[in-house]
Symmetry: C2
Subunit: 315 residues, 2 copies
Amino acid sequence: MPILVVGSVALDTVETPFNRMDGVLGGAASYFTTAASIYDQVNLVGIVGSDFPREYLDFWRNRSVNLDGLQIQEGRTFHWHGRYHMDMNTRDTLDTQLGVFGDFHPVVPASYTQSPLVFLANIQPELQLEVLQQMPHAQLTVLDTMELWINTARDKLTEVIKQVDVLLMSEEEVRQYTNQSSILAAVRHFFTLGLKYVVVKLGSYGALLFGADGTYFSAPSYPLEEVVDPTGAGDSFAGGFLGYLSTIQADVSGRFSIDDIKRAVVHGNIIGSFTCADFGIGGLTGLSMDDIVKRYGELVRYSHFDPNWTPQGAH
Amino acid sequence: MPILVVGSVALDTVETPFNRMDGVLGGAASYFTTAASIYDQVNLVGIVGSDFPREYLDFWRNRSVNLDGLQIQEGRTFHWHGRYHMDMNTRDTLDTQLGVFGDFHPVVPASYTQSPLVFLANIQPELQLEVLQQMPHAQLTVLDTMELWINTARDKLTEVIKQVDVLLMSEEEVRQYTNQSSILAAVRHFFTLGLKYVVVKLGSYGALLFGADGTYFSAPSYPLEEVVDPTGAGDSFAGGFLGYLSTIQADVSGRFSIDDIKRAVVHGNIIGSFTCADFGIGGLTGLSMDDIVKRYGELVRYSHFDPNWTPQGAH
């Protein structure tokens, strides 16, 4: 089933200790769209400037991405310039140019309104709310955000959290929003806001899934020899998570089973690992369902252990 | 089967942001012994001073710990004073008093030499070598160490690594010893030194098991509401790891199966979690096999997911 996504589409400059690329396709919605379109149709809501390369639009059209909701406006596309430190876990933002994104208000085309799945990728909470208001019949709504909005738009962000089903946050963001050092205590706070699931992203350590029903699930990360470029890993995680859910039939009430949600988290980790292993969206462009199946099987082998142990030999 | 352990036995002063305790039982061998004696007999090699409280000796004797190899010498017991930061992940050593430990040379009593399992807890690599030389018939030898020896006794430590089967190291120690940022590359280096297994301890993120045969296993951590005192968590991990192995029958060549080793890592994480949830050895003293069985079952539920997914619904 089609997934609606709203978020930033950007032209990035990314520097790692070993590389630098200018004008590459970036932004949360770009990573999400490229990732989720491996699974099913993506309906993209966003804005780009007149400088946005036609080849990127063609690339998405060829992946059955619907671009009816992508506004193309006179002016420059949103630009982000970041530089990673040696450990590849921390980065500095050297420059941000809003361009046409500065006056952006998302408009959901009629052709999108039947999308059962909605992903609010990282943008201003206010714009996320505008999309939610245009999608009153969504079956499952998933929210991502970033440190900036926790600091500068906390009330609006809280409004969005109260209206969605699933929150994706990094461990640091969870601590920052809740001011709790205990993740378990922090997650309990989130459930008082009405969420059904909280996914805590642990970077190279995998991800934790918490359910309002008490479910706890620790999903292993896929081991990588080297992290080439972690930009977009979280957006790609969301792409795997919602992309997987788009391929299965929810029950009549629009509910997914807890096993569906667990598998979705595993898919998130898998897609995130492909993104990290190459520069920009390079790890996603040639990716096939077979590649995902292979890594899924590896993760089963890498993380499952004898479920039936009892201490017969113990004294 | 009995497990021989050599390491420090200490009287600690531990400060956390919320607590302070003086003269509590500490040291790597103390945590290991207390943990592993839940499973089977432990043969302790170490040294204490004449100030060492008799009640601790009685406590161990009641847990079928053999103290024939624990030297009691006129003078003061090794003393460590540490203070944890607010995040409970980092700590400062405020004071170390070697006491009788300064002139210690381990002597393995005849009654210990048939121990098939040997744990070299964290002490000077030179002393670890002295014990290995006295245990030529050990079936499985396991090594722990710390940053101090990587910095000050690297060559001796490398000698020990070359003579043991299993290395336990924290992620930071692995990076520090190998000067590699990639854990996978670092572990390959360790296998060139002859190790059979490397266990990379990730603290609250669990542990990774690497086998020289290519095995990779990611073991989940047990989720804790609060870390009360992480002192001895790594030693307790080793106690669960070797304690579990002591309860099973290795094949005639003394080899454990890879499933044995995986279960051992899970036991390590479980025992480490009990230690972190209380002050000092408090989390271990009342621990029963039933408690361990319960947490083992929880970890299965917390980490296993559908092993049979295939993308039938995907287009």
